[in-house]
């Protein structure tokens, strides 16, 4: 049980009040029974209204105080007197719940709930929603497709699930300002996805908090990462071997990237952090044409300014343009994982793991500056995506298997998906092509307003933690119905471990108190995926298997 002081209801069903008015579009008003304390009702709770023929699952969107007439307020009762307070409470003055009817619950728990097309009659009774009601609407925790992400707000004992099958059908986003629990929530979602066996995940783990373990600075403890919980069905790659070793992380492979693997588009994505000049794209194009795939390694080897001057003459560019590009690109030399010519085995290995249905976490170690992150995420994702496209096309052509869906997780997503770059990056492409090639995104970001609108509107499910900025609030609600109520709900979320789930994976927009990431969670994760469990990985077989 929780000990945070918020009331919880031990079993049984409590009547809250009766419907006194409302509409399908505007929601219902429920007058609270006199013995139900107004202060126990709060936004985000679920109530069930029993009409004559149907039961309606409703979400509380507002709590109001009413009196039977204005005179009551102008001649206030003598509430200091306990007798008068007891007698009058709930009668001349009373509480009203504004609720949004969200679904009609089926008679038979196996049938799906239906959207609301009518309202319950006047004076239909309303009750606290029960675990069964929630189960009917959000699915049963016991079924593979469903994963418990938390509970309704203020109803900590009731499980609330999202549908993983529907989640992985589209690209998704986790948003919220810093420290709201995005990383914890994302890790939780990934646990759910991997457990379901419905998709593999590839995490670009900028802050080393997904693979082996994560630090919970608030609580001063370490929590388990995907690898610890799922054994060899999760593989940890690192860009910074030394850091991983020092942190005691069990990693499987080290990733290096060759200059020859960088495409001009990859570098253009970094125009801002590299401070590329406006002439840089032309110059790079020419360099590539003249010197082939190894142009970058060669260019960066021109340490002597005279060599560069010679090059500028040869190519007909100004000396300052060449020098500026040289300065900019020299920053890449500081990235230890970049090699003039890399052993490409790491990327192939990564692919081969994904191919066998495993998930991959790539730790950045100390190389967690944005430049490295964007570069690596973009280069690797582009290559991996290409393989998926080929595999999928082969499959459609009748050869091989349909590749297992892949969810690519990126943080700081607005850097990859801003309107300026979304059309050039592989991430923009993946978001737009939906799941055509079985690859989708899970973007994690604290500045959703920085993300291109079109990309935002492609996100199937958005999970939104507390946000302050007006623009961010606007952008996460792009294209959602009932925005004003939802905004209201969003604005009132706690600043930690609470979120509003919108879209594909839930039947209706739903506020949740995110499940605690703790021992209890670990124990509940019995894998159901068909992915290999424990033991060593059979590389031979994995590497030479067919897509």
């Amino acid at each position: 049980m929780r000990t945070d002081g918020r009331g919880s209801w031990p079993g049984g069903r409590r009547r809250l009040g009766r419907v006194i008015g409302g509409s399908v579009s505007g929601g219902l008003e429920i007058r609270l029974d006199a013995d139900v304390p107004v202060e126990e009702m709060s936004i985000g709770r679920f109530v069930t209204v029993e009409g004559d023929r149907r039961r309606f699952l409703c979400l509380v969107t507002d709590v109001k105080l009413r009196s039977v007439s204005d005179r009551v307020a102008t001649v206030p009762p003598d509430y200091e007197d306990p007798f008068i307070a007891r007698v009058m409470g709930g009668i001349t003055t009373y509480g009203v719940l504004q609720v949004l009817p969200t679904l009609t619950l089926p008679e038979n728990p196996d049938d799906p709930p239906e959207p609301v097309k009518t309202v319950p009659g006047h004076f239909s009774p309303a009750y606290d929603a029960t675990p069964e009601d929630l189960k009917a609407a959000y699915g049963d925790e016991g079924k593979t497709d469903n994963f418990r992400v938390g509970s309704p707000l203020e109803m900590p004992d009731i499980p609330l699930c999202i549908n993983i099958r529907r989640l992985v059908e589209r690209s998704n986003g986790v948003f919220g300002k810093s420290g709201t629990g995005k990383s914890f929530l994302t890790r939780l979602l990934l646990l759910g996805i991997i457990r379901s066996g419905l998709a593999s995940v590839l995490v670009f783990d900028m802050h080393n908090e997904y693979g082996w373990k994560a630090e919970d600075k608030e609580r001063g403890i370490e929590v388990k990462g995907l690898r610890q919980l799922y054994g060899s069905s999760v593989v940890v790659f690192t860009l910074d071997e030394e850091s991983s070793r020092r942190r005691g992380v069990t990693y499987d492979s080290v990733v290096e990237i060759g200059y020859n693997e960088l495409e001009i588009d990859d570098l253009l994505l970094l125009a801002e952090p590299l401070n590329l000049s406006s002439r840089a794209p032309d110059l790079m194009a020419v360099l590539e044409r003249e010197y082939g795939r190894d142009w970058l390694a060669w260019f960066l080897s021109l340490e002597d300014p005279q060599e560069r001057e010679q090059l500028a003459k040869n190519l007909g560019f100004g000396m300052n343009v060449v020098n500026a590009l040289y300065q900019s690109l020299s920053r890449l030399k500081q990235l230890s994982f970049l090699k003039p010519r890399a052993d490409t085995r790491a990327v192939d290995l990564m692919l081969s793991y994904l191919k066998t249905g495993r998930s991959v976490v790539l730790e950045f170690g100390r190389t967690n500056d944005l430049l490295a992150y964007m570069l690596v995420a973009n280069v690797l994702t582009r290559r991996i995506h290409r393989h998926y496209v080929e595999a999928k096309e082969r499959f459609l052509g009748g050869v091989g298997e349909d590749p297992k869906p892949l969810v690519v997780v990126i943080e700081e997503a607005h850097k990859f998906l801003s309107p300026a770059v979304a059309h050039h990056t592989i991430f923009g492409t993946i978001a737009r092509e939906m799941r055509k090639y079985n690859v989708t995104l899970l973007v994690v970001d604290q500045r959703p307003s920085g993300i291109d609108d079109e990309v935002m509107s492609q996100l199937g499910t958005r999970i939104v933690c507390s946000l302050d900025n007006e623009k961010d609030l606007e952008s996460v609600l792009t294209g959602v119905v009932g925005r004003s109520e939802l905004r209201n709900l969003l604005a009132r979320l706690d600043t930690r471990q609470q979120a509003l789930v919108l879209g594909h994976a839930v039947p209706i927009p739903t506020p949740v108190r995110v499940r605690d990431y703790d021992e209890h969670l670990y124990r509940s994760l019995k894998p159901r995926a068909s992915a290999p469990e424990g033991g060593t990985i059979d590389l031979e077989k994995d590497l030479f298997g067919e897509w």
Partner: protein
């Protein structure tokens, strides 16, 4: 005690919503707000004592003061035993329910009580059973009464509470019913509730 001990008088004037009873004893009317019953058991009618009066029997003769030499008014009656026959005590009851076969309805009876029907003060258990339902409060609020209806209600509720093991619970229950009925008149409600409370 026998039923006779609870008999207080006879109906001498009657209508659908109220009746007047003449008491057997001078000053022998039940307290304001008491529950009384009249009529045969199968068509019993219940009323609340809403006003009591004692007047001279002969309207032409005006009573005179007699107690100048006395220290206690009771002495006057001892020395002038005929006085008890020259005065009469009557009370008016507002009808709040009737027996309909085995059940009691808190509504006006189909036919009023009859003249010379005996009138009984309800026993505490009878009063408790009758006041389990509180619909009668609405009937009283709507009636013009000889005493202010709110006084009558306060008296009736306090009595009914007094017959119970947990008077406070009943006071709150009745108070809530009144709050519902008088929700639109907060000033009146407030005054009435204060009267209820001052019972204890």
């Amino acid at each position: 005690m026998t039923e006779l001990d609870f008999r207080v008088g006879e109906v001498i004037e009657t209508s659908t919503s109220r009746f007047v009873a003449h008491c057997y004893d001078l000053h022998g009317a039940p307290a304001l707000g008491s529950l009384v019953r009249t009529g045969a058991p199968d068509r019993a009618v219940f009323g609340l004592v809403a006003g009591v009066s004692t007047t001279g029997i002969d309207p032409g003769r005006r009573p005179v003061a007699r107690g100048r030499q006395e220290t206690d008014p009771a002495e006057i009656f001892k020395k002038n035993p005929q006085l008890t026959r020259l005065f009469r005590t009557e009370f008016e009851a507002i009808i709040v329910g009737h027996a309909d076969g085995g059940t009691i309805r808190q509504a006006l009876p189909p036919t009023p009580p009859r003249v010379h029907d005996f009138v009984y003060l309800c026993r505490p258990d009878e009063a408790v059973r009758f006041t389990e339902r509180l619909d009668f409060l609405a009937l009283v609020l709507e009636q013009p009464a000889p005493a202010p209806a709110d006084e009558l209600i306060a008296a009736a509720v306090r009595q009914a509470a007094g017959h119970r093991p947990h008077p406070d619970e009943f006071l709150v229950r009745a108070g809530r019913e009144l709050a519902r009925l008088l929700a639109l008149d907060p000033v009146r409600l407030q005054l009435l509730l204060r009267r209820l409370k001052h019972a204890d």
